[in-house]
Each structure stands twice: as structure tokens, then as C-alpha cells.
Symmetry: C2
Subunit: 310 residues, 2 copies
């Protein structure tokens, strides 16, 4: 499935002669995802050897690994050769598995599950990340690792949501579970509002969007019962933290009342009929409610805050 070491080729933080040469098109070489192999005794039931961080992409590139039903997979088990990040992180992308067997030595399992060293080292003190607190409704300058300004200021506003599913039985819901963001350049200019998850369009969402030049908003589900209708999950959209888009009380109707020139739907679920460009639902979405396509609009989307004044 992939043949590169940890980080892949090219690597996100590397401009060595190989990585830089590949990006510039000067090197006679092929981009490679991180290492892993899929094996099968019959071409029907597949076993993964290691689960790389690139697993989602790797599965999509191999038709033999594609599911045949709404929640199914020909991947029947995983075998790990070590507990290295580049061999394990893909396990987290199999989060809708149903008891998918993972074969490891007792040592590798203990280290991953009991000692929790992976998350501890990567997310904890002394690791590669440095945590900075966002106080609700306080404009916070965003600085880099050396404390130098990035030129951006962010403000978080609590919006209707819920704890992530993995926290539901651990912690009570809290306003800080889900926030929307208002972003602007420190030197002034237009506001970008970013609300990728919200269980309703309420006053808090309106406060995030106030006077924004552009709003990214949660486009997860078209209908409240979208997953139930497909037999995937009995929960309603709102119970999963997402306001449905359709209907007179839906998010699109409520967003239409906002004074925001550009409104872009983001975080679309794979079941959303808006993904089908020919669907009747798609024709109902006003052109001012665009949904971001990865390829077509990504330059526009990413340069929104980069071009104050436009």
C-alpha cells in the first residue's frame, strides 16, 4: 500500500534535496505514502500488515479493499510489527470498526493501550506541540513557537455542540467542547468566521458570523434522519452535534438571514445529497451557500484571510 518511512515522501517539514527536488519536479522519483502491505489468501478477505497514517488514502487507491455495503469492509484484520507511529496511527482511522482484530505481540499492545505512551509523548509536555489556551470571547493574537506574531488574531465563541463521542461517558458536556472562530489580520481588514460544527444556528453562531466577509459553516447532514434512513446510525443529526441543512427551520434558511456575503458549507458527510452535483437538493442551495470542494475552491478558501480588503 505504501513504501515510505515515517513522515512519507515528501515529508511535511522537510526540504532535503529529495523532498525539495520532488516538489519542484526536478527529481526522477515518485511520491510515496507511509509503509504498509495488504495481503489476502483469496482476494476477498484482506489483512493489513501495519496501519500507516496514510491508510485512508491507501485504501481508496486499492479497489480490492473497498466496501460492498454501507458499513462493511473486506479488511478483516490488522497485524502490527511494532508500535511505531508510522505503523499504528492508521488504527485511529478505522474508528468505525466493529471489533476489528489487531494482532500484535503482548508488548506492543501493552505499550499502545495500557501505557498510553503514544498519545502521552505526542500530546504531552516536552512533545512536538505546545498548548495555548483560548479563552472564550477574548481576541487572542496567534503566535508561533518562538512567541513571534503570525499576524492573525482569533476569537473563540462557544456554539451548540456536544463532547466528542470518545468523551461522552467520561465527561459531562461543557460549553468549551465546541467553538466557532472569528479570525482577522492583526492589522485589520475583514473577518473570517469558521463554524465547522454546530448543532443549531443560534445567537452564538450569529455572534461568530456578525459582520464577517465569509462564513464557513457545518454542512454535515442534509436531513436530521439522514443516517437512520440509510440504516447506518439511529441518531439524529442534532444529537450528533450538527444542525441539518434542509427545511424552513434548517441551517440554510437561517444562514440566509445573515448579512454575510460569502457562506461556504464545509464538513459534508459522505451521505449528504449535496455531494451529488446533479441532485435535486443541490439545486435548492443558493449560490451564496457554496460548499467547498477540495480541489476547485481551495485556493479561494485558504486565501480568504490572506487577502483582507478583497
Amino acid at each position: 500500500m505504501g513504501s515510505a518511512a515515517g513522515g512519507g515522501f515528501p515529508q511535511w517539514n522537510c526540504a532535503c534535496p529529495n523532498c525539495e527536488g520532488l516538489r519542484a519536479g526536478r527529481l526522477a522519483a515518485t511520491a510515496r505514502t507511509q509503509e504498509g502491505v495488504a495481503v489476502s489468501a483469496d482476494g476477498e478477505r484482506w489483512v493489513l500488515l501495519n496501519a500507516s497514517p496514510d491508510l485512508r488514502l491507501q485504501i481508496e487507491r486499492l479497489p480490492a479493499l473497498h466496501p460492498r455495503a454501507p458499513r462493511e469492509s473486506p479488511i478483516r484484520a490488522v497485524v502490527l510489527t511494532s508500535g511505531e507511529v508510522d505503523h499504528c496511527l492508521g488504527l485511529f482511522s478505522l474508528r468505525e470498526g466493529r471489533g476489528l482484530p489487531v494482532y500484535t505481540t503482548a508488548r506492543v499492545r501493552d505499550a499502545l493501550v495500557r501505557e498510553n505512551a503514544l498519545a502521552g509523548r505526542l500530546l504531552g509536555a516536552g512533545g512536538p506541540l505546545g498548548w495555548r489556551r483560548l479563552e472564550l470571547e477574548v481576541a487572542t493574537p496567534v503566535a508561533d513557537a518562538g512567541g513571534r506574531p503570525t499576524g492573525l488574531v482569533v476569537e473563540a465563541v462557544a456554539v451548540p455542540g456536544k463532547p466528542p463521542r470518545h468523551l461522552e461517558s467520561v465527561l459531562d458536556p461543557d460549553p468549551e467542547d465546541t467553538v466557532g472562530l472569528r479570525l482577522r489580520a492583526a492589522r485589520g481588514g475583514p473577518v473570517l468566521a469558521y463554524v465547522p460544527g454546530a448543532a443549531a444556528v443560534d445567537d452564538a453562531v450569529r455572534r461568530v458570523a456578525a459582520s464577517a466577509a465569509c462564513l464557513f459553516f457545518d454542512g454535515t447532514f442534509w436531513r436530521s434522519n439522514e443516517l437512520a434512513d440509510l440504516g447506518i446510525d439511529a441518531r439524529r443529526a442534532e444529537a450528533m452535534g450538527h444542525a441539518p441543512l434542509a427545511g424552513t427551520e434548517g441551517a440554510i434558511a437561517r444562514l440566509a438571514a445573515l448579512d454575510v456575503p460569502r457562506r461556504i458549507l464545509i464538513h459534508l458527510n459522505n451521505t449528504n445529497p449535496l455531494l451529488d452535483e446533479t441532485s435535486p437538493e443541490r439545486q435548492k442551495v443558493p449560490s451564496k451557500n457554496r460548499h467547498a470542494a477540495d480541489a476547485a475552491t481551495r485556493r479561494t478558501a485558504s486565501s480568504t484571510a490572506a487577502a483582507p480588503g478583497t
Copy 2:
């Protein structure tokens, strides 16, 4: 950077009308990676809004986010709107960060770092994965979640290695840290040997490879001091758990002595000169030591165990 909800579009275990239609080429739609946005006030210093599991791919698709030096990145900070897996998992792919600031509410940080609910839920009991123990040097039939055989049998052999870096200060090294695998169909047929990481080619590696039709072997580094020479990391290849390929004592010379018809190098680091198809090092590798390219040889690689008798 991406516009899909958790799981992306299409999703690994989903063949709903949208996912299936996209894969079959029947749907007027675009594949989408998981949701996230990159913003910048000046087009130079970039801030990520959420860090999706697809982050590595997303960074490579946006030239503005590419590094300018061997260990550098224009990504200066990350801002999270929630602790959902599809907003956080990309943090683990930034593992070579150097104190990269991550802005979150106190709640989201506590949930990720202190409670460790993410790894606990995804890797622990009752989660999507079911752990199965590999005893060293015991042939173990690989079964699916329902206990039904997959038709494959695997045997793990301890090979020279080291604990993953995140465990180095937590646990003493153990033979079970790193294993090689021997795989065969339960009905018989040729053996596939898989050793993606090994600090030396020793008797244990030779035992994994004995009478195999094909061997995947650790091709991480060409030279022992490859990273030091580029100023990236002072450690030698062997200290990082990888036998260097070059030289009369190197892995290629030692593998050449094995009676294995196909030998495929895998887990190549981005600094490895073998990635450059025109490099002098590449010309030195016997054609029987192939290195797997993601695109070109993936069908061959994945069908090795699927086609006993060929």
C-alpha cells in the same frame, strides 16, 4: 484544505449510494478529504484551523505550506474548534514539530492531554478494535471479528530493533518491540516474509526469510550517517532501529546471500538516495532488490500472498 466530515468522502467502510457511486464513477461528485482550513495574514506564515487525519496529503497539495529547509515549515500554529477525531488526529502527523503552538479551549486540551480519552476509547476495551496476541515463533491463524478464518497464517519472529521513540524513556527495550512476519495461506503455498524494520540482518532475519518466495525488507537508510550528514538528526541508522543498506557489511550485501527469489525494499526514508531513480546508489542495487513504488508495484506486492503457486 478539505471539506468532508469525519471519515472523508468516500469513507473506508462505506458503500452508501454516494460513496459507491463515486468509486464506480457514476456520481457527478468530487472525492473530498476531511475538513480543515489554512489561513494566513501575509501568505508566508500559516495557521491551520483544525488538523484532520488527512493533513499530510492536504499539506502536500498546497505549495504555500511546503517547507523551505530540511526541517522547517511555514505552518506556525494550529487552532482547534473541538476535540473530535476528525479535527485532531492530524496533530499526530506533526510529530516532528518543535513546540508548534496548538490553540484550544482549556476543556479540549484537558480532554486530549489529561483524560486521554481519545486513545483510550479508540484503542481500549469496547472500542472499534479487538486485540489478539502474537506469541513469538508460533504460527497463528488470522481470524476476523467473528472468529472466522481469513485463510492466512502468520508467525512473528523477534528481530533486532528498539522501542518506539515515545517509549524510550518509559520502558526498557524488549524482544517483542519489533518483529518480522512470515505469512502463508492456510491451505499451503509460498511464504511471504515481511521485515519493515530491523537494525541488522542477523540470524533472526534469516529465520523470517527462510525459504520465502518474497521478502519485504527495511530500506530506510542508505548510509548509517545519512541524517547527520544533512544536519537533521545526529543518530546513526542502527540507533534508530534500521540497518543501513550500503557497504560490504550493509543490508543489501547480506540479503544477497539469502535464497529468496524476490527481495523488495520498503519503508524508505525521504533522505534515501534510492528514491532518485537516476542516482549512482540506485544503479548499485541489484534488480532482485526492488523497492516498492506506491503506484507501479502495489498490485504485485499486495497479491504476493494472494497467489500461492505463482
